[in-house]
Amino acid sequence: MASISQFIKYGDITVISNAPKKFLKEANDYGMVTSNFAIKKNVLEILKETTMPLEKIHKALLLVQFDKRLLKLSGIDLSDLEKKKLLLAYHLLTNKKVLIFDHLFKDCIYSEKQYFKRLLRNLASKQKMAILVLEEDMDFLCEFVLKIILYKGNNSFQEVSDFYDENIYKYLEKPKTVALVSSLESKGYFIDHEVTFSETLKAIYRGVS
């Protein structure tokens, strides 16, 4: 059976969609960023365990956009996204070189998605970290324009190269851009196969005008 370690590439971001549960267990050996924990200590106590000075802790919290009003809350009282931000700050403070994000973007609003997209790109390109994103938010992943590896079951993986390949949607939710263009084509319009919002907009304009 494939292991998550074969997808770790330093200086790169890899998205794995429909990842097998085994990967979530293996991810604990690395810098796993997940909301699946229940720690009763408060946020500041958890981060002080990194033995980093307060100034560095506050910088890390700023970098991950953690709401400082929540510093005195215990880990279990945090929302899913705040838990992930806390863990991300923790791993950055303890110099983890591999970060694995367990469905980060599905908890985010638009501006947060954009921010974390830039942050992850920065961590990969400038700090040469290996970033793995376990995610199925296809509407967002289309905009991210990254390599996406799809797990199809039975130890079978496929790189997603064509978002208009209907076979991949047995495992994933179809992005709205693809659903709309496919539907318009079935009604007789000729629309270029684009996936991002802005390119789909232009393609519809060209195809309909």
């Binding site: 009003r69 899913d80 996204l81 908890d107 939710e173 659903a179 709309l180 519809i204």
Partner: protein, 230 residues
Amino acid sequence: MKEKVIEGKGKVKINGTVLIEDFFFYLSFSHSICLLGKSGSGKTKLLKNLLNLDKIKNSHYLVLAYFLEKESKIESVLDSSCLSQSEKLFVKKIGEDKSKKEYVGGLFKVICQRPDFLFLDDISKIFTLEERQKIFEIIRAHKIAVFYVTHDVEDVLFFPYTIILHQNKIAMEGKTKEILQEEKLMKLMGYSLPFYVNLSIQLKLYGVINHLCYSQKELEDNLWQVSHNL
């Protein structure tokens, strides 16, 4: 039956930290509301606070809540007489996904109790947009008023009235279609517009369609009308 039924106001705090200032609300039988706020803004805590209010605990109404609890017995929902055949087919279909089965059981167990009000925590984490649309249709068909909290802007389209939380206050509220006209304000608060609303605004600027659309079907119908000069 009165239009306004339960009103109240309060702060939302957790361990002394104020998450939401001066939240004022009213709930009526025909007035489902969507509260939009980012993760960590206090939405779930607000629901729990509201449930504990004396006005709600002591009211004559059946007020239930669903906070994404798991319930393994989907069969009891399928065996009950509260859902129609098509609704049962839908529940059975989404229940085939092992990651969703327990949540489906929990949610529909609450729906089948036919509460007057349902406080519903963010189900966008579990169900796809299409599934949520069907779930809200079923809830409406059973005449259950909903107070729903979510971070996903797409969900506001299923509700006639929306409240938006921003920086621990109510930043905007009103009829959903009017709220969605305030594109710049929404962006300042960190939200995009729902996909079809956003796309139709851009296409309208290009003259490809002639009015705002809120769904794929509406957009396609309008495209057809404009391209055939109807």
